[in-house]
């Protein structure tokens, strides 16, 4: 009664709802679609690869709509930046896909492409983690000195260089409170789109750091604005995938049931924390995705003979989603406890908002 059949495989319903919920929480909090977690998880559940990819694209589109609505209510979307970026992103994704086809035609192996994705995620993880730890220490020092601390603290000075580029038209992003050349935003959209199209991902984990460290938005605004991009790009992807027959709409329905609750909670959770907390969770998601991808790569390279490797890769793929969801839920719990004057771990107070 609580299972149904997808492409010849019996799938437990509660796993689909739970997957939708956990990835909804993570996606609403850090502004990613979560395809790099959900597609491997659906394959573990027994979905054929093409069906996992298509079903995931549809689920991401629906989840991104829910998260975007909530982030709009929280004031976390800058429509000027979102609209300036959308065209560049769509063009970039198309270029990235064509680049992928070209590299496949010239015989570049899949291992090299996987190595490229690992290198990108690892590089983003290292920079985000180092910058966020420095921001965390600055927050802690300011808090102990009794200074008033805002919702966002960044130590990176890279955005200042890009904001000084004088190429017209210069636009005023009112919500983000910055003045920047429109071409910077468009080119960021194109470059992140190329990476996303080439690596076969939605690109949220590339665009959110790009918005924070290149354009110079706050982490909260980057999350909300990126989710608008995901609505557009994954909506188009969902349409194309359903036209190819790669979508099981019953599975999408049950995942969206979980996402309805999860995406709302993840989006609201951003209002309990400061910017560095969002960037910490983003960096953890990057390193866990990298490790999971490397495990699957090792399993493939050993010819699929090491069964324990398959088990470890599966457990890690599922565990990654649960870990991120639990971390976000615990941050909210600690924030509520700290607000009421109860004991919390020593690293928590600079990361949470109490007003």
């Amino acid at each position: 009664m609580f299972e149904f059949t997808v492409a010849g495989h019996v799938i437990p319903l509660f796993l689909l709802v739970l997957t939708g919920f956990t990835v909804g929480v993570v996606g609403g909090f850090i502004g990613v679609g979560g395809g790099y977690m959900v597609t491997p998880a659906l394959i573990v559940f027994g979905f054929p690869g093409y069906m996992a990819s298509g079903t995931d694209a549809c689920h991401i589109a629906g989840k991104a709509v829910i998260s975007s609505i909530r982030h709009r209510q929280l004031g976390n979307i800058d429509w000027t930046i979102a609209l300036a970026m959308v065209g560049g992103t769509m063009l970039g994704v198309e270029l990235g896909v064509r680049l992928l086809v070209y590299t496949k035609n010239i015989g570049l192996s899949g291992v090299v492409l996987l190595a490229a994705s690992v290198a990108v995620m690892l590089g983003l993880f290292i920079y985000t983690q180092v910058e966020t730890q420095r921001s965390h220490r600055k927050l802690e020092a300011d808090r102990k000195a009794g200074k008033e601390i805002g919702r966002e603290v960044k130590v990176s000075t890279i955005p200042l260089y890009f904001q000084r580029i004088p190429i017209m038209p210069i636009i005023k992003a009112r919500k983000a409170r910055l003045v920047i050349s429109m071409w910077v935003i468009v080119i960021v959209g194109v470059l992140t789109g190329v990476l996303a199209g080439f690596l076969g991902v939605g690109g949220g984990f590339i665009r959110v750091p790009a918005l924070v460290y290149v354009v110079g938005t706050t982490s909260h605004l980057a999350v909300g604005t990126d989710l608008v991009e995901i609505v557009v790009s994954s909506g188009y992807g969902a349409l194309r995938q359903s036209m190819e027959g790669n979508v099981d709409f019953m599975a999408v329905f049950f995942m969206i049931i979980g996402a309805m609750l999860g995406a709302q909670f993840g989006s609201i959770a951003t209002s309990f924390v400061r910017g560095p907390a969002i960037r910490y969770i983003l960096s953890y998601s990057l390193i866990l995705a990298t490790v999971g991808a490397m495990m699957r790569l090792v399993y493939v390279l050993t010819g699929g003979t090491q069964e324990w490797l398959a088990f470890v890769a599966v457990v890690f793929t599922l565990g990654e989603m649960v870990f991120l969801c639990l971390f976000i839920c615990s941050l909210v719990w600690f924030a509520v406890r700290h607000k009421h004057g109860r004991a919390v771990p020593e690293w928590v107070p600079p990361l949470v908002v109490t007003t």
Partner: protein, 36 residues
């Protein structure tokens, strides 16, 4: 145990172990047959 709560990296390890444990149990009880 205190290190696993009051140190951020320790808390990270603590949650990861719990998450992977829950996932391993889910795999063994619900998914292993699906993958055969």
């Amino acid at each position: 145990m205190r290190w696993f709560i009051h140190n951020m990296f320790g808390y990270w390890v603590f949650l990861l172990v719990i998450s992977c444990g829950l996932s391993a149990l889910t795999y063994i009880y619900f998914l292993q047959d699906l993958m055969k």
